[in-house]
């Protein structure tokens, strides 16, 4: 457990637009966003859980703390990060390549339970950051409700380190569900989407869904009685020992993710009909998150047509832009916010949008 704030400040002070910094934890998400640029500022030394009281439902940790360490501490108290952040640290040396909590917050990604409980941003309660001119700023806090000042903490979620160096973050945690069960249904895509939307309008303890190749896998989590009643109501085939399945989905170890062609994440309304996309898809989040491999123009057009957006999630050719371009008034606000927090343009230039 070390506090590297002073070292970080020094690094920031000698950095500049011509000598920018690339904020990096375990590097597990190097693939995500536009190509990283700049001198690496390694956050892993600034680590440690600084506060965790289970009855407060809050954990506070320094940015370099391994996500795995946080999850282990929570599991020991029968609690969890309900949004199931993906680690994406597989396949490399686990001693050096691991997901940090700072990186998880900056990437803003959530796992299978997102549609049921909310995204990472919903669980961010507070942050301390270093701004682009080395000011240490604290927003939000460790309490559940807080409307003092603008919600800058949530703004950090998914900002890919372009606004500030996250030093410390407080996250809301939840008890682990008492009971869980996973069901399987043979359903073509249109029927699966219909069923998912119909079920979501009923008080059912659905905590994850995955459709792939005409099979819908559904997870239930909650009180024993609720899970038992839902099992009865929904039917389907019980999948034993399903935790591997859900972990593999969360970490993209599922067979669908093995390919090398550009991987797209289409974020769309859950009721969007079957998208006109050739080849395989994996559909999660009750229909709201659809994974597909293929061409940029096709992905963007398919998502936009139904009121969503497409993210180039993994791929070597990023010329189409990783994130959907912003309308002019929003881009202007983005640029002004960037200039406000990082006036010298030292943090992760171009990682979110080329000119940001």
């Amino acid at each position: 457990m070390a506090d590297l704030t002073e070292q970080f400040k020094e690094r920031i002070s000698v950095a500049g637009a011509d000598r920018p910094l690339c904020i990096r934890g375990g590097g597990s998400k190097d693939f995500y966003g536009e190509t990283p640029r700049g001198e690496i500022l390694d956050t892993r030394g600034h680590a440690g859980i600084t506060d965790y009281e289970p009855t407060e439902l809050v954990i506070t940790a320094r940015c370099g703390t391994p996500l795995a360490e946080i999850e282990a501490a929570l599991a020991a108290e029968n609690q969890c990060l309900a949004f199931e952040p993906p680690h994406f640290a597989h396949g490399t040396n686990s001693a050096t390549s691991f997901a940090t909590v700072g990186g998880a917050v900056a990437a803003g990604l959530s796992g299978p339970r997102r549609a049921a409980v909310g995204a990472l941003r919903d669980f961010v309660l507070g942050v301390t950051i270093l701004s682009g001119v080395s000011r240490r700023l604290t927003f939000g806090g460790q309490v559940m409700k807080n409307v003092a000042g603008y919600d800058v903490s949530r703004l950090m979620a998914g900002s890919l380190g372009t606004l500030g160096l996250i030093l410390e973050v407080s996250l809301k945690v939840l008890p682990r569900p008492v009971a869980e069960a996973t069901l399987r249904f043979d359903l073509p895509q249109a029927k699966a989407l219909e069923a998912l939307n119909a079920w979501a309008g009923k008080p059912l303890p659905i905590s994850g869904s995955c459709w792939h190749e005409d099979v819908l896998t559904l997870r239930l989590s909650g009180a024993e009685a609720a899970v038992a009643a839902a099992k009865q109501k929904l039917g389907g085939e019980l999948l034993a020992d399903a935790s591997t399945f859900w972990n593999d989905l969360r970490e993209q170890r599922h067979e669908f993710f093995a390919g090398t062609e550009t991987l797209w994440r289409l974020s769309v309304p859950s009721v969007a009909p079957v998208l006109d996309l050739p080849g395989e898809q994996v559909i999660e989040w009750g229909g709201s998150q659809r994974w597909w491999r293929g061409d940029a123009a096709v992905a963007r057009e398919a998502a936009t047509k139904v009121g969503g957006h497409a993210v180039l999630f993994r791929g070597t050719d990023k010329s189409a832009g990783v994130f959907q371009p912003l309308p002019a008034p929003l881009l202007k606000i983005h640029q002004r916010l960037k200039a406000a927090f990082d006036p010298r343009g030292v943090f992760n230039p171009g990682r979110l949008y080329p000119n940001l």
Partner: protein, 500 residues
């Protein structure tokens, strides 16, 4: 809180606004009936739910649609005129307090539910739609809008967005920020912007989160998409009595430690139950030092199981009495008392002042003892109701504005509670907003660098500072005046920094 006309000097000077010229311009933009500028027509808008602060605006515009809002904002931007948006005016921090040299933009006429899709579980509504009206419209589909502020009969979704409103069920179901998918709004420059969408996330920075709780300072909300969630099949509430308020506080922590997230978890102290009981006949235990209301919802089997677990924990924590609602009527009766706490305070005292600090749950006992000491120090009574599950306190300070000096003592008392909330690791406001009222508390909670960052966020949306000026974030000068300025890193007191 009622009392006196109150017009502190504002932070920016807008005294050169030409009222006649402004009214003439506005008259070209909206129908005659939608523009008020005679003194007697303006009076009903002089304050929000916090009546201690009053100010008559130059004009009130009752907008009917987004196009009118765009036109009004463009004009005000060009003329350099402040604009304050107003929903139902139930806010408790002076957020909708008009500007004396500005326009009050009322959403009262924009109250249509534009679209309700039970399959997608969303409702698209205009900003002036009342919170409860959404749940009423969704009810035939077995759905509802989860955040349920006690003011839900009156308050609008636009006001809820501005304050990130919560309710007694937000421990389990979240605040406004967790239940809104999309906000459409207009910037002071008259540009229409959309934050979020009907998917679960949007590209770029999370500006939706930034908008929620921004107290009308960043953009005027013209349309909102809210999430609708299925109504639980059934719900039951436990009313548990405690002989000692600290035991009740410990029980709150114990429930959570047991892995239970109640659908609602509220506390009232003895003076609070004594105030509401004659008013609503909720059946509260008037001998108890404090009562907890602890709700479970879900399937009948689930509720049965959870009520059993809750009961066991409450008994172990020394509950002296436990009653479980036997039917829906009784459940609503138990809640009616809690929801009527503010009006009840108004019944037993000429005036009351509601505070809104939030603290870590474990500090509940400590702050209650602190408040009891302050009652003696300031010679004023205080009754306590809490969103205990969230650690959100609503001490109601009772006073009489006609007694010279009481209002000042009340303000001091309130400020001291908030300072204690911050000292205990909490915040000055959980859900009512900073508004005009808690500017001083902001100087306690944030240092000059952080306040400067907030001003920069504001400037990213509203460079001239025309939307709701002088609210939510105090100027560094104002903090210095309060004498509470945190001097950081040995810096000067008035650093003239443009950037931080």
């Amino acid at each position: 809180m009622t009392g006196r006309a109150h017009t502190h000097e504002r932070e920016q000077d807008f005294s050169d606004v030409d009222c006649d010229a402004l009214v003439a311009e506005l008259a070209r933009l909206v129908p005659k009936a939608n523009l008020l500028h005679e003194q007697e027509d303006l009076m009903p808008y002089e304050c929000d739910g916090l009546a201690a602060y009053r100010q008559v605006p130059l004009a009130v515009v009752l907008a009917e649609n987004e196009a009118q809002i765009v036109a009004v904002l463009k004009t005000c931007n060009r003329l350099g005129v402040p604009v304050v948006a107003r929903g139902a005016g139930t806010g408790l921090s002076g957020g909708a307090l008009p500007h004396g040299h500005g326009v009050l933009l009322s959403m009262a006429k924009m109250k249509r539910i534009l679209h309700l899709d039970p399959v997608a579980r969303v409702a698209v509504v205009e900003p002036g739609v009342r919170n409860l009206a959404i749940s009423e419209a969704a009810a035939p589909h077995g759905l509802y809008y989860a955040p349920d502020p006690s003011s839900q009969l009156a308050c609008t979704i636009g006001g809820n967005i501005a304050e990130n409103a919560g309710g007694v069920h937000c421990l389990k179901y979240g605040l406004t920020v967790h239940n809104v998918l999309r906000v459409r709004g207009v910037t002071i420059e008259g540009e229409v912007v959309e934050f979020g969408n009907h998917a679960l996330d949007a590209p770029g920075y999370d500006l939706l989160a930034l908008m929620i709780g921004s107290e009308g300072l960043l953009a005027v909300v013209t349309e909102v998409t809210v999430k609708l969630v299925p109504k639980p099949e059934t719900a039951r509430v436990i009313m548990a009595s405690f002989g000692d308020i600290t035991h009740a506080g410990d029980a709150v922590a114990a429930l959570i430690a047991a892995g239970i997230i109640p659908a609602g978890l509220e506390m009232m102290d003895k003076p609070a139950t004594a105030a509401v009981e004659p008013f609503v006949n909720a059946g509260y235990d008037l001998d108890a030092a404090a009562i907890l209301l602890c709700e479970s919802d879900g399937t009948p089997e689930e509720v049965e199981e959870e009520i059993g677990r809750m009961r066991a924990v409450l008994e172990k924590c020394g509950a002296t009495g436990i009653r479980v609602s036997s039917d829906e009527a009784e459940r609503l009766k138990f809640w009616a008392g809690r929801k009527a706490a503010f009006p009840a305070a108004g019944r037993i005292s000429p005036d009351y002042y509601c505070m809104d600090g939030t603290i870590p749950r474990k500090k509940l006992g400590e702050i209650l003892r602190g408040i009891a000491d302050m009652e003696k120090e300031f010679g004023l009574r205080c009754i306590n109701v809490f969103h205990a599950g969230d650690g959100n306190l609503h001490p109601l300070i009772l006073y009489d504005a006609n007694v010279p000096g009481e209002i000042e003592r009340t303000e001091e008392f309130g400020a001291k509670i908030l300072e204690m909330s911050v000292a205990l690791g909490g915040t000055i406001t959980g859900e009512h907003g900073v508004g005009y009222e808690k500017l001083r508390g902001m100087c306690v909670q944030f240092d000059s660098d952080e306040l400067t960052a907030f001003h920069a966020v504001k400037a990213a949306f509203d460079a001239q500072g025309l939307l709701n000026p002088g609210k939510a974030v105090p100027s560094l000068h104002r903090c210095a005046e309060f004498g509470r300025m945190h001097v950081h890193h040995g810096e000067l007191k008035f650093p003239d920094i443009e950037r931080f």
